[in-house]
């Protein structure tokens, strides 16, 4: 059987560089051995394969506008596969399947204000869209980025965040849940929702894109509701353990009263209005 006949056969790829970003997260720059571009949309994911260990679904963290043929994955060390990936280094080989899923609705967002709200590792999928919009800055109106993590040492993409802080054409705000006494931190201290009341949202012209852990969604959505942000102007990216990525294995199905969704095909990015009745979504 060749690749055409099996949706389960990964492509070979090479790790071009590894950057440690925080205690549990590393950024991997990867290139397909075919030399071709991955050809993804912001918000899509790939199945990363370590033969002998298995596969894990990982969101693509780089924008398709990034120069060159490589793409980036920010991987948290949290299970068998990701533990092993963390031991890999420049030049090592891995397998890639994908890109899979529905990413962010770039066409819909174009011409509008975009508010990004990222919690913790949620910055990884959002960064694919953030960088896309920064690379096409003129196509978007106001851009706001709200980024929160637990402690200053957990902040990811430090170099880029440093640039965002200094950029005049975006509004970047950050917060940490707590800051140890011996750490210097000039940003806000408090959970991510504490940043929301302070921002102006042009309700008729904005989209809010949120990514973070399930618990964060609940509080952020509540806060956005208080701000009167319409549900259909909110997009979120959901996490599931997709085993196949192609709508067959059943693991990522989420159920609602009216219908059901497969996160690997219908998502991982969803319009909030479309999933708010799905009690299993969060």
């Amino acid at each position: 059987m060749n690749k055409k006949d099996s949706p389960y056969l990964p492509e070979n790829a090479t790790i071009l560089s590894v950057e440690k970003m925080a205690e549990r997260e590393k950024l991997f720059e990867i290139e397909l051995d075919s030399g071709e571009q991955l050809g993804h949309d912001p918000g899509q994911f790939v199945e990363v394969s370590v033969p002998g260990v298995g596969e894990a679904p990982i969101s693509i963290s780089s924008s398709p506008t990034k120069e060159g043929n490589s793409f980036e994955l920010c991987i948290r060390k949290v299970g068998n596969v990701t533990n092993v990936i963390h031991n890999l280094k420049e030049g090592d080989k891995i397998g890639i399947r994908g890109p899979y899923g529905e990413g962010f609705p770039v066409e819909e967002l174009r011409g509008h204000d975009v508010i990004f709200i990222a919690g913790g590792l949620g910055i990884a999928p959002l960064r694919s869209l953030i960088n896309y919009s920064l690379d096409n800055r003129e196509e978007f109106e106001d851009i706001k980025i709200l980024y929160g993590c637990r402690k200053p040492c957990e902040l990811l993409y430090e170099d880029e965040v440093e640039e965002w802080r200094d950029m005049n054409n975006i509004d970047y705000r950050e917060t940490v849940d707590e800051c140890p006494d011996d750490v210097c931190w000039e940003g806000n201290v408090g959970v991510i929702t504490t940043l929301i009341p302070g921002i102006d949202i042009d309700l008729d012209n904005s989209y809010t894109v949120v990514c973070g852990p399930p618990i964060m969604y609940r509080f952020v959505l509540q806060e956005l509701k208080e701000k009167k942000v319409p549900d259909e102007r909110i997009y979120l990216s959901l996490e599931r353990r997709m085993k196949c990525g192609v709508g067959k294995c059943g693991h990522c199905q989420i159920n609602g009263e009216k219908e059901e969704l497969y996160v690997c095909q219908d998502g991982p990015v969803f319009n909030y209005d479309n999933i708010k009745d799905f009690e299993e979504a969060l």
């Binding site: 059987m1 060749n2 690749k3 006949d5 099996s6 949706p7 389960y8 056969l9 990964p10 070979n12 394969s49 033969p51 002998g52 260990v53 298995g54 596969e55 894990a56 948290r76 949290v78 299970g79 990701t82 080989k93 891995i94 397998g95 852990p213 399930p214 996490e239 599931r240 353990r241 085993k243 196949c244 192609v246 709508g247 067959k248 294995c249 059943g250 693991h251 199905q253 989420i254 159920n255 609602g256 009263e257 009216k258 219908e259 059901e260 009690e279 299993e280």
Partner: protein, 346 residues
């Protein structure tokens, strides 16, 4: 319709076995139950069984099968694998044929899953009308007690002979053997088959109190009735047996198995079950169906609504395997569905 004497069918099966072109499997007895297994000779074949422990799905989607072989000595070498054994499967009841039709749709849905489709394509399905009916079966209510298509050949027991309905050219080709003693059915034999099929409908102890076409909306309406699902799931062991024996359960897990060198191995898919606790768990430990009742509800929703929404079929064929094998006896779909039906006006 053709007619073949029982002894001639036996000779025919023995010839197929001897011929060795395709592996011949059929229903055999195992202790006090029945299983689909490889036939050594035609005498082993038990065509008047009630139900098998596992459905014939295992031949197209094995409990464990290799999807990819890998080797990591220098870089990574990965190759897609499909271990296809062409088979003739003898003695499939109509409800299992219906389940296979449904699974064909699932795996042909884009992107096509050749690991299933090729095994399926290389198989010949010989159905048989039920002579015995399992006490747990309610195929009569699900419209799957008899079937119009989905088989290559279909047998009906007429005492000392079998009526043979030819469903496909694959079935016709199988019968093209000079040695085969077979004749056209007489009009009264055709009528006899019709009568037998009609009578099968009346042989079920268990039944749904309503048409299964109502299941999608009935389940949707009761999705939010948490008390109902909690009450009924209370004794569930979360063992997944109902998933494992179901002819329309196809969820799977994928795992790598390396050999002792740790430099080569296989990526395999194996049956998984939505009733198992970790099914909807993600890497960080979050579980999106943590409660037993949520998992229990999920199985019924999937059978009666989700797969219907996606593929157009009610994905319960009424075989009764889940209920017959459930240790705490809480997996009977007629029990749950009838309760929902009778409660609907309250």
């Amino acid at each position: 319709m053709k007619v073949i004497k029982k002894e001639d069918l036996e000779n025919f099966v023995d010839e197929l076995i001897a011929n060795n072109e395709k592996e011949v499997v059929g229903v055999k007895s195992k202790d006090s139950k029945y299983v689909f297994d490889k036939l050594e000779n035609a005498e082993e074949l038990e065509l008047d069984y009630d139900v098998t422990i596992l459905p014939p799905k295992k031949y197209f989607m094995p409990q464990r099968e290799t999807l990819v072989e890998y080797e990591t000595r220098e870089g990574i070498e990965m190759e897609a694998v499909n271990e296809v054994v062409p088979r003739i499967i003898i003695g499939i009841h109509p409800y299992d044929l219906e389940a296979i039709k449904q699974m064909d749709k699932v795996f042909a849905d884009s992107p096509e899953d050749d690991n299933y489709l090729e095994k399926r394509e290389k198989s010949v399905l010989i159905g048989v009308n039920m002579k015995q009916i399992s006490e747990w079966s309610f195929a009569g209510s699900m419209g799957t007690a008899t079937i119009e298509d989905g088989y290559d050949l279909m047998l009906t027991d007429l005492g000392d002979r079998y009526a043979v309905e030819i469903g496909t050219s694959k079935g016709r080709e199988l019968l093209e053997r000079e040695s085969l003693e077979m004749r056209d059915a007489e009009p009264e034999e055709v009528e006899e088959v019709e009568n037998i099929e009609e009578n099968i409908q009346n042989g079920f102890e268990k039944e749904l109190d309503f048409s299964p076409q109502n299941l999608p909306w009935l389940l949707a309406e009761n999705y939010g009735d948490e008390d109902f699902w909690e009450e009924n799931a209370e004794d569930c062991y979360s063992c997944g047996t109902c998933n494992i024996v179901c002819p329309t359960c196809y969820c799977f897990d994928v795992q790598d198995f390396s050999d002792i060198s740790l430099e080569e191995g296989e990526r395999m898919r194996q049956w998984d079950g939505c009733m198992l606790e970790a099914f909807a768990e993600v890497a960080g430990g979050e579980n999106f169906r943590e409660e037993r009742a949520e998992r229990y509800r999920h199985r019924y929703m999937r059978k009666g609504r989700y797969l219907y929404n996606r593929f157009g079929d009610i994905a319960c064929v009424g075989c009764g395997r889940c209920s017959s094998q459930c240790v705490p006896d809480i997996a009977d779909p007629t029990d749950i569905f009838n309760k929902l039906w009778s409660d609907k006006d309250e």
